[in-house]
């Protein structure tokens, strides 16, 4: 599997560490009423068969966290963006 690191260029999977689905969003408050949202953020996953946007750490390279678009069934990789940009974009949408 090759990951197109936006900083380093295309690198093989052995340089990356994965952390699963990037869809869950960390709640922004610590209000007790948000416990359910926190539980879902920490524990529940869509775990899709097919397209996923997932966190990948270029741990064997530039050490950037990326969000990689990939197909979990075919392992086809569509692209990767810095996690920083992904988070900001998600924040902008919310």
């Amino acid at each position: 599997m090759l990951i197109p690191c936006p900083h380093c260029g295309t690198r093989p999977v052995e340089e990356f560490t994965f952390l699963g689905d990037a869809a869950p969003t960390r709640p922004t408050t610590n209000d007790p009423s948000t416990m359910e949202a926190w539980y879902e953020y920490v524990y529940l996953r869509n775990n899709p068969r097919g397209a996923i946007e997932e966190y990948a750490h270029h741990s064997g390279g530039c050490r950037s966290w990326l969000v990689v678009s990939r197909n979990t069934e075919t392992h086809e990789v569509f692209g990767a963006v810095p996690a920083r940009d992904f988070t900001r974009a998600k924040g902008a949408k919310a």
């Binding site: 599997m1 090759l2 093989p12 999977v13 560490t17 952390l19 990037a22 960390r26 709640p27 408050t29 610590n30 007790p32 948000t34 416990m35 926190w38 539980y39 953020y41 920490v42 966190y55 750490h57 741990s59 050490r63 950037s64 966290w65 075919t74 392992h75 990789v77 810095p82 996690a83 920083r84 992904f86 988070t87 900001r88």
Partner: protein, 972 residues
């Protein structure tokens, strides 16, 4: 012809005489031979025994798919089992042995199983050996295990080296036959970076084995011209002896180059094999086609082989499979087989063509049309064949051809299945798009001219095409020919595993009719050749038995590896002590001078204890503790992770990372921090110091340094990207030493350039940048893990050993001692400080007695989930101290705790001992434990239950701090 070596021809160097042994018998072959061809040329046809029935076997093929002629090659640590004789290049001094027989290949007692073969059908073992119950493990299974298996593996270390390498190319061409050579040439002439790989010792593929004409010359001559041109081009890498063994995601191909397997021992500095990971922008599979056997009685008898194998032995190796031959098949290739054999003076008794009609030219050989070979007759060698119509023909060998299966394996490694073509009678490769195309006979192009043209087209998909040379084509037509049901003898589908044609209908009858179930039930296709030859016949028989078509039955899954790969190749140079890199601290040299015993701690080597003459680890560590607590000691703590955190928002960032607060920390001070995971469980701990308003230096535990760094990167980049903060590991920049004990201050004072060390200038938890030894920049922290008045001194790493020596010299008058992690661990347990045993990934801040550190005023990682009822339950196991009631008793880590009078059971389990130490200060064993509702139960007497080591003592639960409870020594 006295031997079976033909008088002339072949790509062998008759001027060489290579001596080799097979089962102790000495033979001679030539450069260019394989072990198989050399044995055949020497008249040795019995080469092995089959798996279940121990049937006598010879070669069936001349290539990588060989299921029968497997030998033990070489001796001692170089011995390798199951090596295909067809792939072993002959070398002088080669030693080989047959396998799976006793007492000898010729007289094999195991062949008696043949007598009971009517019982030993597919899956018989699932139906028996169940009574009496105990007999399975004691009697049946040991017998089965001894009888099973093939060769014997060495148990000695392998003396050879292996290597790994990456390669990158625009076009990878797999296979160097006519298709592959044209593909490589077409791509290379477009200045593409080309890699051409072939599993054979020489490039040329089928053109080395066949009598062909290309461009007005012989096929072989033509290959030499193309190879010479490719070899002269700087953009081309030729990799003979290289098997592409798998196709993986990202168009990455795994390959193994057999660098030295053709030599008795590798040349100095050369590896035995080199494992390649080839990143190819595009690849062309030109692997050719595998000829399939026909299922008839005795189709496994020495002398029976595929027609193309027999041609290859004659054409390439000048070896005759027999003096007289019957050629049998259902396609036109049998005619060229007869012609080739005749051209070498081998007598062809008859062509037995299963088809009633054929246009092919028999060139004078008798042809029996519409006829079938039903049985080969003989024993350890073919003597004759019986045809289905009762005709009997004497012969020494049978060449068979059931047709050709495109070698699509690699094209199916990423999940797509091949597609049945009822006209071509072949499973064609699936469409994998431009990145990996299949060309030539691997795509079922059966004419040479088609292969050349297809290779040229697929080698260069864009740009100007290259000229395709003219060639002579052999006509090709085919009819189905799978199983001759008129056979009397066993007709083998999977040779090595002894699966017969009759096993498949049995499997279907019993409910195992899915091709995958039939495979597993009959073991068809599970041998070392992975069904390259026989699976297609199995599918055909299964289709007929269940009334399905070939595509309805389908293939089993093609998986890596195309051919088996040595463990050594995948291991490369990372063997023995080089399995993982060694990480040494900057004080390693100094510690070595001091006689340290080192211990593996992750990748680090840490100094564990510093024995003096006659001391064991405990005596040494105890002395180190007494010396440190009594005067002063020095310990290498360089392995702690150190992270430089800078930026306007550095404090705020640390507040998010730790459950306690750092933004309020004063410059010049250090603070202990506790880091949680988002699930509320403690992740790591360490001290963080503030060196400037916007500059902190964090420390992590040795074990978690890399994980914490990754967590910080995640927290910043994925969670809080707008914080203005940077962080970088500076672990390796600093040599760090703990100097502890009542004389630590006067010792260190001697190194200070300007600083006068007092409680005011260097108070507890101070963190200062200082200058030592005439200008060396250093960091001085007043921290203590030992509980003593203590410091940590950090200096740039290249000065580490020098400074440590200076500290030793400065402390000499006080009797300074180096101490290692054992002494460190004793002192931390004496002081009740938590470490790895307690930070075990399941404990909360509360469990560790640090609940009060957890801030309620800010957001931090783990805050919310830590509040769940399961994590706040008072009955959770909490850290306590533990000490034996009888001071002479020893407690051990890993022992469990029970109430005083309870019987051992999981229900009664109250916790366990996380760490123990012999305390030289208290003169007894003391420990820490995780104990249910522990903090409320200090003073309780419990059983320390260690059934595993047959040990049980009574102990008292107590405060974790065993020694100097008031922390007086810290400030002394």
């Amino acid at each position: 012809m006295t031997s079976y070596r033909l008088d002339k021809g072949g790509l062998i160097d008759r001027s060489t005489a290579l001596r080799f042994t097979f089962d102790g018998a000495l033979h001679v072959g030539h450069q260019g031979d394989t072990l198989a061809s050399a044995l055949l040329a020497n008249g040795v046809t019995l080469m092995g025994r089959s798996f279940k029935y121990h049937r006598p076997r010879s070669v069936i093929t001349a290539g990588a798919a060989e299921p029968n002629a497997l030998v033990e090659l070489r001796e001692g640590g170089r011995k390798e089992a199951n090596t295909r004789a067809t792939m072993i290049e002959l070398y002088d001094g080669l030693v080989s042995k047959s396998q799976n027989n006793w007492p000898s290949l010729d007289f094999d007692v195991g062949a008696l199983t043949s007598l009971a073969s009517s019982v030993f059908v597919a899956g018989f073992y699932y139906k028996t050996f169940m009574w009496p119950k105990s007999f399975w493990e004691k009697i049946y299974e040991p017998i089965i295990r001894r009888a099973a298996g093939l060769g014997t593996a060495s148990k000695l270390p392998d003396p050879d080296k292996y290597e790994k390498s990456y390669a990158h190319c625009d076009v990878l061409v797999i296979g160097s036959g006519p298709t592959g050579l044209m593909a490589a040439l077409a791509a290379a002439r477009q200045a593409k970076r080309v890699i051409l790989a072939d599993e054979s010792s020489r490039l040329g593929g089928s053109l080395l084995n066949e009598q062909e004409e290309i461009g007005g010359t012989s096929g072989y001559e033509w290959t030499q011209g193309v190879i010479a041109e490719l070899g002269s081009m700087p953009n081309v890498t030729l990799l003979p002896r290289t098997t592409i063994m798998g196709w993986f995601d990202g168009n990455i191909f795994g390959a193994v180059e057999r660098v030295s397997d053709h030599l008795r021992v590798p040349d100095p500095y050369e590896p035995r094999q080199r494992y390649w990971k080839i990143h190819a922008k595009r690849a062309v599979l030109a692997a050719g086609a595998e000829e399939r056997p026909v299922a008839f009685g005795g189709n496994d008898m020495p002398g029976v082989m595929t027609a193309s194998a027999m041609r290859t032995y004659a054409n390439r190796y000048a070896a005759a499979a027999g003096r007289s031959v019957v050629v049998f098949g259902g396609n036109d290739s049998i005619y060229r087989t007869a012609r080739d054999l005749k051209s070498h003076g081998i007598h062809v008794e008859a062509i037995v063509d299963s088809r009633k009609e054929s246009k092919a030219d028999a060139a004078g050989t008798p042809v029996l049309r519409g006829a079938l070979v039903a049985d080969a007759v003989g024993g350890k060698a073919v003597k004759s064949v019986h045809l289905a119509d009762g005709t009997h023909i004497n012969c020494e060998a049978v060449a068979m051809s059931g047709g050709f299966s495109p070698i699509v394996n690699l094209a199916c490694h990423r999940g797509k299945k091949p597609v049945w073509d009822a006209k071509l009678l072949a499973f064609l490769p699936p469409d994998n798009g431009e990145a990996f195309t299949v060309a030539g006979s691997a795509a079922s192009r059966m004419l040479l001219s088609e292969c050349l043209a297809d290779g040229a087209a697929k080698g260069a998909v864009d740009g100007k095409p290259i000229t395709v040379p003219k060639c002579r084509d052999e006509a090709f037509a085919i009819s189905p020919l799978w199983w001759v049901k008129e056979s009397h003898g066993k007709a083998f589908i999977d040779y090595q595993n002894d699966a017969t044609a009759k096993d498949l209908p049995l499997a279907a009858r019993e409910g195992y009719s899915d091709v995958e179930l039939a495979k597993r039930y009959t073991t068809t296709g599970m041998a070392t050749d992975q069904g390259k030859l026989g699976n297609i016949n199995a599918i055909a028989i299964l289709a007929e038995a269940t009334g399905r078509t070939m595509d309805e039955v389908g293939t089993t899954t093609f998986r890596p590896f195309y051919t088996p790969v040595s463990f050594g190749a995948f291991t490369g140079p990372f063997t023995g002590h080089h399995f993982q890199p060694v990480r040494k601290t900057p004080l390693h040299d100094w510690a070595e001078e001091q006689g340290a015993v080192f211990v593996e701690t992750g990748l680090w080597m840490r100094s564990s204890w510093f024995p003096r003459e006659g001391e064991d680890w405990l005596a040494s560590a105890s002395r180190e503790v007494l010396n440190t607590r009594g005067a002063v000691g020095i310990c290498d703590v360089s392995t702690l992770g150190k992270i430089d955190v800078q930026g306007k928002d550095a404090g705020q960032f640390l507040d998010r990372l730790y459950c306690n607060t750092f933004s309020t920390l004063a410059v010049g001070k250090a603070r202990y921090g506790l880091m949680l995971r988002e699930d509320g469980i403690v992740y790591d701990d360490g001290t963080t110091s503030r060196l400037a308003e916007d500059h902190y230096v964090m420390t992590t535990t040795t074990a978690n340094a890399a994980k914490v760094m990754a967590q910080m990167e995640f927290a910043h980049q994925a969670l809080f990207p707008d914080l203005d903060v940077t962080y970088v590991s500076v672990t390796e920049q600093w040599a760090q030493m703990a100097v502890a004990g009542p004389k630590s201050r006067p010792t260190l004072q001697k190194l200070m350039d300007e600083l006068v060390m007092t409680d005011e200038s260097v108070p507890y938890m101070a963190a200062l940048e200082v200058s030592i030894m005439g200008g060396i920049p250093a960091r001085l922290f007043r921290l203590s893990f030992s509980g003593e008045h203590a410091y940590e001194l950090a200096v740039p790493a290249d000065y580490g050993s020098m400074v440590a020596r200076a500290v030793m010299q400065a402390g000499d008058e006080f009797g300074i001692t180096p101490y290692g992690v054992e002494a460190l661990s004793i002192m931390r347990i004496e002081k009740g400080h938590v470490a790895g045993g307690e930070l075990n990934g399941t404990t909360t801040a509360g469990d560790l007695g640090m609940g009060k550190m957890v801030s309620a005023k800010k957001d931090f990682i783990g805050r919310m989930m830590a509040q769940r009822e399961g994590l706040t339950d008072p009955n959770r196991q909490a850290v306590v101290g533990i000490r034996p009631v009888n001071p002479a008793d020893r407690i051990r880590a890993g022992a469990h705790l029970l109430k005083q009078d309870d019987t051992p059971s999981m229900k009664n389990d109250q916790g366990y001992v996380t760490g123990v130490a012999w305390s030289p200060m208290l003169d007894m064993w003391v420990g820490l434990a995780l104990f249910a509702n522990g903090r409320a139960r200090h003073g309780e007497i419990v059983q320390v239950w260690d059934g595993l080591r047959g040990h049980r003592v009574m102990a008292e639960i107590c405060d974790p701090m065993h020694f100097d409870k008031e922390n007086k020594r810290l400030h002394a």
